[in-house]
């Protein structure tokens, strides 16, 4: 993955030694391949990866120049049509600066015929984000065939790496080799997998780090799981360079990254600062009374007026003057602009590099710079965060998957006239559970004349729970807004017959005052009532809307997580029609609560009371943590299913 946040080319300094010319290892395949026998249990799989062999080779290429070559070699046995469809089209990615050294692909057919893909049938393809691929189709494939391909590409040396080995299909034999001049000392670490590193120094001048993993099962998608983060992967980093004068000093540390981030994002020319000063002046931000209001005003302005996306990457989109005129910015550019404005305004801040916890971790003891994929500002004065690259989020709300985990903080310190930065690895706490809630208020009244129920529904969404709705509503066209309201009505009342409706606080500015997003409607619903002869059945459970269920699950592989701490609370009032009584109100009662450290962190509790002619139901569903270990699986499932069970509660209204 291309890391947009750090400028890795600078890393080359000091690593290169005297020119040697070791040739790289060229990947080979068997000239006369035979098909591999497949064990019975694996015949159920659509495809079996027999070999997944990866090599990253660093070699000296003349003075001050290290070359990196990455090789990838796969042999896949195809058992069925899905297997064929999964491997008959191949996309091999490479980047601008890389050269393709080798690229071969072939199909080995059950009758022994070998069909190699001809070079002219490998087409060039460039994606929307600029990524380049060689794409080709394997010829002659049928069930029982094997696909084999390998490639070696030269790329700009990157001294950090992450190889995700596990995937959808099982792998029988996975190998990773890092080869480098022996002055370079790499460290490797396995995630979700114990690895044994075999270090081979038997070839003079070269070190080979070898890892082999066998019989890796295919990983299946699961509900409430961080799929990518749980896959078996190996990360590596360059930790020492013995050619340095101080060869035993650890290199590529978090502190070095802090210095680099500081100089890239937080150092400005006089001219830039003047332009930024003009912008501040024009908007009057300097007159705002406190840091919080300045942060809010700057963010609202930049997020409304500027376009910034990952795929905007031309040079001038990080030039302060050009950005201010065109209001288009690269990710790098917009972060610099924020940093410059905050600096000039004297709003203390730290740049935070984080990642999506569904995919990666920032590991204090294993500094992999490539895992810092996303960026935040932290304001020590307020203790809150801002996500500069997410246009539909507002302070202090960030992508919740970028928090509740460790992140890298760049803390600047000034000594005399000299400003530098040091790193800290600390958690990014999410906003408190009380701030993210979905509250539903429903009152139901029977219209005896027409066998319908008149429902008044008010949905209140706050904090992280409001993000998707608010963005969808504010950015959509009138037709889609109408559809959103209809869907809300349908979800609670099983009807789209909206009599009146109203939406509050849809604008992004409402975030900063913690104003919740509100949709309310009065709805005519036939769908909540059933007729059973002399009795009526009220499908009261349906008003909480469709719930996720985990009724019929396969054995669990991965621990559980939710996006952010939150509660779902419902208040349902039902006015019992004259002449009727509710025969089974106790069906409304359910209670599943699970504590951790003495407090309930996970629960679904529903209860009721009857006051006069009104039946009042209260339901509280709680998820106070983001992560739940595998040991909590049964409890977690019970809570999820308790909510799903509640949707099926039907009250019998019996004529007195």
């Amino acid at each position: 993955m291309k890391n947009n946040l750090i400028f890795l080319s600078a890393l080359l300094l000091g690593l290169d030694a005297i020119a040697q010319k070791p040739a790289i290892i060229h990947e080979q395949w068997t000239e006369k391949p035979a098909l591999h026998p497949i064990n019975d249990p694996l015949k159920k799989e659509s495809a079996v990866i027999l070999l997944d062999n990866r090599r990253v080779e660093f070699i000296d290429e003349g003075a001050d120049k290290v070359g990196e070559y990455r090789s990838f070699h796969r042999i896949v046995h195809l058992n069925d049509d899905q297997g064929i469809e999964s491997f008959n089209k191949v996309y091999l990615g490479y980047t601008d600066s890389t050269d393709i050294i080798d690229m071969r692909a072939r199909a080995v057919l059950p009758n022994g015929v070998i069909m190699e893909v001809r070079k002219e049938n490998m087409k060039d393809y460039q994606d929307e984000d600029g990524s380049k691929y060689k794409i080709f189709a394997l010829e002659g494939l049928e069930k029982g065939a094997e696909v084999e391909y390998f490639y070696t590409i030269r790329r700009k040396p990157d001294y950090f790496g992450r190889e995700t080995i596990q995937g959808k299909f099982p792998i029988l034999d996975a190998r990773l080799q890092i080869l480098c001049p022996s002055r370079l000392i790499f460290q490797l670490k396995g995630y979700n997998s114990d690895i044994r590193i075999d270090t081979d120094t038997s070839h003079a001048g070269t070190t080979a780090y070898n890892i082999r993993l066998k019989d890796i099962p295919g990983a299946e998608e699961e509900k409430y799981a961080a799929y990518d983060a749980n896959l078996k992967r190996i990360e590596y980093r360059l930790s020492y360079n013995k050619a340095n004068s101080n060869g035993s000093a650890r290199i590529n540390t978090w502190n070095l990254l802090a210095q680099r981030i500081h100089s890239n994002y937080e150092v400005f020319t006089e001219k830039d600062l003047n332009r930024i000063g003009d912008l501040i002046e024009a908007n009057g931000w300097q007159k705002l009374p406190d840091a919080r209001q300045k942060i809010i005003a700057v963010e609202n302005y930049l997020k409304k007026q500027f376009t910034s996306r990952n795929d905007i990457d031309m040079q001038n989109a990080s030039n302060i003057e050009w950005m201010i005129k065109n209001k288009i910015a690269s990710t790098y550019g917009i972060v610099r602009l924020y940093a410059g404005i905050f600096q000039k305004l004297g709003v203390g801040n730290q740049i935070v590099l984080t990642c999506n916890r569904n995919e990666l971790v920032i590991d204090r003891s294993f500094e992999n710079w490539n895992n810092t994929s996303d960026i935040l500002f932290y304001f020590p004065g307020t203790g809150k965060y801002l996500a500069p690259t997410l246009p539909t989020f507002r302070y202090p709300w960030i992508n919740p998957y970028w928090g509740a985990e460790d992140a890298f903080y760049c803390q600047t310190t000034t000594i005399g006239n000299y400003t530098t930065a040091i790193a800290a690895i600390r958690n990014v706490p999410l906003e408190d559970v009380t701030k993210s809630y979905h509250r539903t208020d429903v009152s139901l009244q029977l219209d005896p004349a027409s066998d319908t129920v008149i429902a008044k529904v008010r949905e209140t969404l706050a904090g992280y729970l409001s993000i998707g709705y608010r963005a969808a509503y504010t950015l959509s066209n009138p037709d889609d807004r109408r559809t959103m309201l209809k869907e809300m009505a349908r979800s609670t009342t099983n009807s789209e017959r909206i009599i009146t409706s109203n939406v509050e606080n849809a604008d992004f500015e409402s975030y900063t005052d913690d104003k919740p997003f509100v949709m309310e409607a009065t709805i005519h619903s036939e769908g909540l009532l059933e007729n059973a002869g002399r009795n009526l059945l009220l499908k009261i459970g349906g008003v909480i809307g469709k719930q996720e269920e985990m009724y019929q699950e396969k054995p669990r592989q991965f621990p559980l997580q939710v996006a952010f701490p939150h509660t779902l609370e419902r208040f349902v009032d039902f006015i019992i029609p004259a002449g009727y009584k509710v025969k089974n109100p106790d069906d409304l009662v359910e209670s599943h609560e699970y504590p951790a450290g003495g407090n309930p962190v996970l629960g679904f509790v529903s209860e009721y009371k009857i006051e006069g002619d009104t039946l009042r139901v209260h339901i509280l569903e709680t998820y106070k943590q983001t992560a739940y270990p595998l040991a909590d699986y049964d409890n977690f499932k019970k809570v999820i299913n308790a909510a799903a069970d509640f949707t099926k509660v039907v009250l019998v209204l019996e004529k007195k």
């Binding site: 159920k44 087409k123 010829e139 007026q305 007729n531 025969k583």
Partner: protein, 638 residues
């Protein structure tokens, strides 16, 4: 007016005047809540003759007025596509800010366009961001294109995903040329047409104002079926020698163009293909048996992968190459089917056809835009059979669902063709019969399911089954078994014989808790385990675009309740039959011995449902829904 002056005028016209505040407000009140509108969309085609051949250039202008406060952060990205046939010559774009500053676009980026169905072609996309957008700003894009093949001119559409304030198509062509045009889609009465002749040139102008946003519903057919548009093409022209050249004046011209695509393929059957044909025909008793075997072999063995760079989009590949590769696009499958069938002694013909996403016919508009697909046609027992190689479980003798009711251009030989209409299989051919037998037990409802799929129901299910392995198949099938509620637990299932494309049976056993209610001495159960049409009311009268259905069909759901010992039925809801001119249903409760049998029957006789039929559709639902809310009650004998 001199040509130069004319071009100058165009250039001046291209500078947008900022709408006054009053104009912007009037647009906002006419289209409330819209985030942006197209102020102007215009295309001007200029067709000339060069070296005796038509040369087509077009200038297109798009001007967007931004109304939303979020304009810059969300709507700045814009772009256009082009290809080898639709060659980009010039382009420029700029923003005119609300305070009348002009800022040019500099960040153009060209990439390959991605398509789900085509693996590789030469269509490119150029994208960019309009700078400095804010409410009141106008983004303008101007492009000039060269249409390398004038047979392939694109229709002009008046509506966009956002409202269009002014829309205009101009076509200028020499006096010795005939351009034919047709207005297609709904609401074409609003299109104003003018004809102007000047200096030996004719100009057609089509204009429309204040066109509402055309945002499609999920179940709508392709926009070409309803959006107002102009199809235009060169019928014929007189060349420099005074000879009249028929260009696309009739299907004959199109056929001759297409014949050229076939001239270099399938000269002979190679040994590999011959061997396969021989082995497939060895035990086949008659031509039909041979044709069935050959069709099945292509369906199973040739995977769909489309490489369509330039002419590869039109010219089928040689069947022998397709056989070796084991993959191809529709044209390649037409090629291999046709050659294999001919090798087996069965006359087979290359056939061009449009899928149902296209509303055009060869007889009305004899143009390449009528089709987007190729198949092979044979004649057996006095009946034409259309063989589509791209559908692995298409039933021999039935067309694939995507070509029903479409005109096919069948190349009978090097000089003759036929235009045939593909039949629509009757609803009785496509039946889904789903039977559930249930028992009320202390552990909830337990039951057995048997679903028989016939015709297209079988075809579609088998197409799905092929792409899932044993591990995933339960995930695929569970939704098809599911009934009652999401607490449906599929205890076991079985897939019946998969040898017959025209029929497949699924059977399964299940448990369903919390669906039937036992309260006191009573059981309550709603026998409508399926409420397939809940929320299927058509958004009428707002909706003006038709609804597409995959095929004609019948669905029958039977639920058989074994009445528990010691209980009697105390409330049996009434059944009902309701049909009108559009469709209808029958729902029936019947007590037979110790069983209660509930039957739901629905049928569909439409491929497209038009707005004039929407009221009747909804009327059926109004009659149906009350029946969904009826619950059977059973009382324990005292």
């Amino acid at each position: 007016m001199s040509r130069l002056f004319y071009i100058l005028l165009l250039a001046i016209g291209a500078l947008p005047a900022l709408p006054s505040e009053g104009q912007t407000r009037s647009i906002e009140s006419k289209f409330p809540g819209e985030q942006e509108v197209m102020l102007e969309h215009s295309v001007h085609y200029v067709i000339t003759l060069k070296d005796g051949q038509p040369l087509v250039k077009s200038e297109e202008k798009q001007q967007l007025l931004y109304l939303s406060a979020q304009a810059n952060s969300r709507m700045s990205r814009f772009g256009f596509s082009h290809s080898g046939f639709h060659q980009l010559e010039q382009y420029s774009a700029y923003t005119l800010t609300a305070d009348a500053k002009k800022i040019k676009v500099t960040n153009f980026k060209t990439t390959d366009s991605k398509s789900n169905s085509i693996f590789y072609d030469d269509v490119k996309e150029t994208t960019f961001d309009f700078p400095a957008l804010a409410p009141g700003a106008i983004g303008t894009l101007e492009t000039t294109m060269l249409d390398k093949d004038p047979h392939l001119l694109s229709p002009f559409f008046f509506s966009w995903a956002v409202p269009v304030i002014h829309s205009q198509l101009k076509i200028t062509f020499p006096k010795d040329m005939q351009i034919r045009y047709l207005l297609k889609g709904n609401d074409t009465a609003r299109i104003r047409f003018t004809l102007e002749t000047r200096h030996g040139e004719t100009t057609y102008t089509f204009q429309a104002d204040s066109v509402a946003a055309g945002r499609p519903y999920d179940d709508a057919p392709d926009i070409r079926w309803y959006a107002a548009h102009v199809v235009f093409y060169i019928e014929k022209y007189v060349d420099e020698h005074g000879t009249t050249i028929p260009y696309l004046s009739s299907p004959d011209d199109l056929f001759h163009l297409y014949l050229g695509y076939l001239k270099d393929i399938n000269k002979e059957t190679g040994p590999e293909l011959q061997h396969i044909v021989d082995s497939l025909c060895k035990n086949a008793p008659d031509p039909e048996g041979k044709a069935r075997n050959i069709y099945a072999w292509v369906q199973q063995n040739i995977k769909y992968i489309a490489f369509e760079q330039g002419m590869e989009g039109f010219v089928p590949r040689d069947a022998n190459l397709v056989c070796t590769r084991k993959f191809g696009d529709c044209k390649d499958m037409s090629s291999i089917l046709t050659l294999m069938l001919r090798t087996a002694g069965i006359p087979a013909w290359y056939t061009w056809i449009g899928t149902r996403s296209l509303p055009y016919t060869y007889t009305e508009t004899p143009l390449p835009l009528v089709d987007n697909h190729m198949i092979s046609t044979i004649r057996l027992n006095d009946r034409y059979i259309f063989l589509d190689g791209t559908d692995p479980f298409c039933i021999f003798g039935m067309p694939s669902t995507g070509i029903q009711d479409k005109q096919a251009l069948v190349a009978m030989d090097d000089s003759t063709y036929k235009i045939l209409t593909v039949p629509i299989p009757a609803k009785e051919m496509n039946r889904l019969i789903d039977t559930t037998t249930i028992d009320l037990t202390a552990g909830g409802l337990k039951g057995h399911i048997c679903i028989d799929h016939y015709g297209y129901y079988s075809n579609i299910l088998q197409d799905l089954l092929i792409y899932s392995n044993e591990k995933e198949i339960d995930q695929l099938l569970k939704p098809r078994f599911r009934r009652g509620s999401d607490k449906f637990n599929l205890d076991s299932f079985r897939i019946g014989d998969r040898g017959d494309h025209a029929h497949i049976r699924l059977t399964g056993d299940f448990t369903l808790q919390d669906y039937a209610r036992q309260i006191g001495s009573e059981w309550y159960i709603n026998m409508n385990l399926f409420k397939s049409y809940l929320h299927e009311e058509i958004d009428y009268p707002k909706r003006t675009m038709p609804i597409e259905f995959p095929f004609y069909g019948q669905r029958i759901y039977v639920v058989i309740l074994n009445i528990p010992a010691g209980y009697e039925v105390t409330y049996l809801p009434p059944g009902k039959t309701y049909h009108n001119a559009v469709w209808g249903f029958t729902m029936n409760y019947e007590k037979r011995g110790r069983q209660l049998i509930f039957t739901q029957e629905f049928d569909n006789d439409h491929l497209l449902l038009q707005p004039s039929q929407f009221a009747d559709w909804n009327k059926v639902l109004e009659n149906l829904f009350p029946l969904y809310h009826s619950t059977v009650s059973l009382q324990k004998n005292p």
